[in-house]
């Protein structure tokens, strides 16, 4: 009896410490994430003016019905997906490639890590402001491209054309976040035991085969992590599009869902409709997270 009771006490003690350690996070998430999500869901069922002191009218699902038939909202969905796909895939592929490159040059490893990571510590607003100067018609973007392509005097309209303004927002985001994901990939690469490569080399595998047969499968958990994180980052992009439209860029091509939420809630005071949009965005993000877990299948790996 005594022998069987002892492990139980230890387990209970460990569990108690577990609860103590987890409690601050649960409280934090409850206040800053779960509560706002539940409130947004509740608010989305009402016609509520942000400034009005009157009791909001219950409208049920009518905001959702409106949004699903609104060309403006579908344009935002399209703008969000174009941005997410145009940024997420290059981020994933190139951050992995850059991480592999950095791992292959141990002497310059620290320099490259710092160089790539620096933009990640700059706030989104500051990075968008820097790129606004670069994309100015008289700015560096036109000068560089015209120098490289030998096309003096051409205005590539980085912020003035529907297509280029989309590409410009993708460039800003890629520049800002690539270093962050490179660091995560480097951690993943560093955790693969060197003995695996030695064994493969002895068996006659070349570098390409080692990458596809050893690195990539063993890096799968990191790839899943980076793909989920980068996809979520892309879906909730806001600052770049906001600053660009404030500086004269056309809104429709980059009117991502978050920007539409801001304009609907803050500019037009329609907080009920804005909440419905945010719930839809939340569901989209949830779906993509689930899909990526599902597609990756194995999210754990053993050596």
């Amino acid at each position: 009896m005594g022998a069987s009771a002892k492990p139980g006490r230890i387990e209970r003690k460990l569990a108690r410490w577990g609860v103590i350690f987890v409690t601050p996070s649960i409280i934090f998430f409850s206040i800053f994430s779960f509560y706002p999500i539940i409130m947004a869901l509740y608010t989305s069922l009402f016609k509520k003016n942000l400034l009005s002191l009157k009791k909001p009218a219950f409208v049920g699902l009518s905001h959702y019905k409106y949004l699903f038939t609104s060309p403006d909202f579908w344009n935002s969905v399209e703008a969000t997906f174009v941005f997410a796909m145009g940024t997420f895939l290059p981020l994933l592929v190139l951050s992995l490639a850059l991480a592999a490159f950095i791992m292959s040059v141990p002497k310059a490893k620290r320099f490259f890590q710092m160089a790539y990571y620096t933009p990640a510590v700059i706030s989104s607003v500051v990075s968008a402001a820097i790129w606004l100067l670069i994309f100015d018609p008289r700015g560096l973007a036109n000068q560089w491209v015209n120098f490289i392509m030998n096309t003096p005097g051409i205005d590539h309209r980085w912020l003035a054309n529907s297509m280029t303004v989309r590409i410009s927002t993708m460039i800003v985001y890629f520049w800002k976040y690539v270093g962050y994901f490179v660091i995560i990939f480097i951690s993943g690469l560093a955790s693969i035991p060197p003995s695996m490569y030695e064994a493969a080399r002895i068996d006659g595998a070349d570098g390409w085969q080692s990458f596809w047969r050893i690195t990539f499968p063993l890096l799968r958990p990191t790839v899943v992590l980076v793909s989920i994180m980068s996809m979520l980052q892309c879906l909730k992009t806001f600052s770049t599009q906001y600053l660009f439209t404030q500086s004269g860029a056309p809104q429709a091509p980059i009117n991502v869902i978050t920007l539409n939420i801001y304009n609907t809630g803050i500019r037009d005071f329609r907080i009920g409709r804005a909440s419905a949009m945010s719930i839809i965005l939340f569901i989209i993000m949830l779906f993509f997270t689930w899909l990526q877990f599902k597609l990756s299948k194995a999210d754990d790996v053993s050596y």
Partner: protein, 430 residues
């Protein structure tokens, strides 16, 4: 579990007690939170007024906070949404209007602010300048400034292009485009010097009058129909298409704000649109240029075949007082506002802004301000900017239409049709 319940109850009790902590007794001290937009020239005089007011009212503490003019709208809005708005704030009337209709601001305490009653206050201001802030006979805002815009001209740039600004300045929008063509310098497609460019974020103030000159309207007088006068709108949008990079390439919303370049006199901006306050900003940015006499102000142009003689719309910045306060706080807030605005001549001299009192507008100080007559003459043919709860969204739709023809290659007919449909839907939703 019992212990957790006890802690929860204690926390809840503490929150309940502290939540009521900001109530002040009728006899206690008053603390006022005063938010306004940044303006270095105004900061100097208002800081002094606040100090003087606190010296004469020892029980009053005023915390004057400045915010960027671009940010103050959303900061005040989010503060009010959380029922924690500032006691005194100022805002442009297009944005402030919603605070009045949603009963978030208190009517002027006339006696505290230095007036006998509502009609006394209305009589002391220029006709029409308080119309936007009057509801059910009460006035809800005290004007800090009333603005209309005219065209600032750099004579040196005209001379550099072989023109005489005094004789060659544009009187019509057609001349504006032709003269800009002579003034503009380009490196290939990239403009390095603009003749003139519009103030793009402010479509309701600066561009709707162009449509009205041609016989169009944004919204019908009864407020039920949007985008009236199809030909006028299409002609206006065609003009803007020609102005942009796909047309004569004279300017674009993506170039740097013209009026900021104008002050620096770097031979890159010949003309810009701004209010009387721009004079003080030129003085503060570039004293040499201000004193040189090489700039002048001309009236807002009209189209050659205009059917209405209208100038740039006028708008106001109004001081308002939070209604969610004790009667004592509201009274003190209006007393401070009245005290500050009693120095209207100093606002004009130090900041170049015009609190629109009849006394000031008829004063020698105002008449002696450089080119103040241009603004007064234009004001006589100006309308107040569109003010409604959907004003910001309406501006966004006009912006979308103008930018679609200037930047996205959409035809004026198509842009007009889209604008008309969306603007009508917006009105119908109200």
């Amino acid at each position: 579990m019992k212990r957790a319940l006890l802690i929860f109850t204690l926390v809840l009790t503490a929150f309940t007690l502290f939540a009521n902590g900001q109530d002040e007794s009728a006899d206690g001290p008053v603390t006022l939170e005063f938010w306004t937009h940044e303006d270095p020239n105004r900061d100097a005089i208002e800081t002094r007024y606040v100090e003087e007011f606190m010296a004469s009212h020892p029980d009053v503490t005023v915390n004057r906070v400045t915010h960027s003019s671009k940010k103050i709208f959303e900061l005040v809005l989010t503060a009010f949404a959380a029922n924690a708005g500032p006691d005194i704030f100022n805002m442009q009337i297009e944005q402030a209007y919603s605070y009045i209709v949603n009963e978030r601001v208190a009517p002027v305490d006339y006696l505290a602010a230095g007036f006998a009653d509502a009609s006394d206050m209305i009589n002391q201001y220029v006709d029409g300048s308080l119309d936007s802030v009057i509801k059910d006979g009460d006035v809800y805002g005290m004007p800090l400034e009333l603005n209309n815009w005219a065209v600032y001209v750099n004579k040196r740039v005209f001379a550099d292009a072989g023109l005489d600004a005094e004789k060659d300045y544009p009187k019509t929008w057609e001349e504006m485009a032709d003269i800009s063509e002579k003034l503009v310098l380009r490196d290939g497609q990239i403009i390095t010097r603009r003749g003139f460019d519009f103030r793009y974020p402010y479509y309701l103030i600066s561009m709707i009058p162009m449509v009205e000159q041609l016989g169009g309207q944004l919204v019908s007088d009864d407020g039920k129909t949007a985008i009236l006068g199809d030909d006028a709108w299409i002609k206006f949008l065609t003009y803007m298409q020609e102005w942009g990079p796909n047309g004569r390439n004279l300017g674009s919303p993506t170039y740097k704000n013209g009026r900021k370049l104008f002050n620096m006199d770097n031979n890159d901006m010949a003309m810009c649109l701004s209010g009387l306050y721009q004079g003080a900003r030129i003085r503060s940015d570039n004293q040499e240029f201000y004193d040189s006499g090489d700039w002048m102000i001309i009236p807002y142009p009209t189209f050659e075949n205009a059917v209405n003689d209208v100038a740039s719309n006028f708008y106001g910045q109004y001081y308002m007082v939070n209604a969610q306060n004790s009667a004592k706080d509201i009274k003190t807030a209006w007393a401070l506002t009245g005290y500050m605005m009693g120095h209207e001549e100093e606002y004009l001299e130090a900041v170049n802004i015009v609190p629109p009192t009849k006394k000031l507008m008829n004063s020698e100080t105002f008449k002696n301000m450089p080119y103040s007559n241009v603004f007064v003459d234009d004001l006589a043919r100006a309308n107040v900017v569109y003010t409604a709860e959907n004003g910001a969204k309406m501006e966004e739709l006009v912006k979308e239409a103008v930018e679609s023809v200037m930047l996205s290659g959409i035809s004026p007919v198509q842009a007009h049709a889209t604008l008309k449909a969306k603007a009508q839907e917006l009105l119908d939703e109200m």
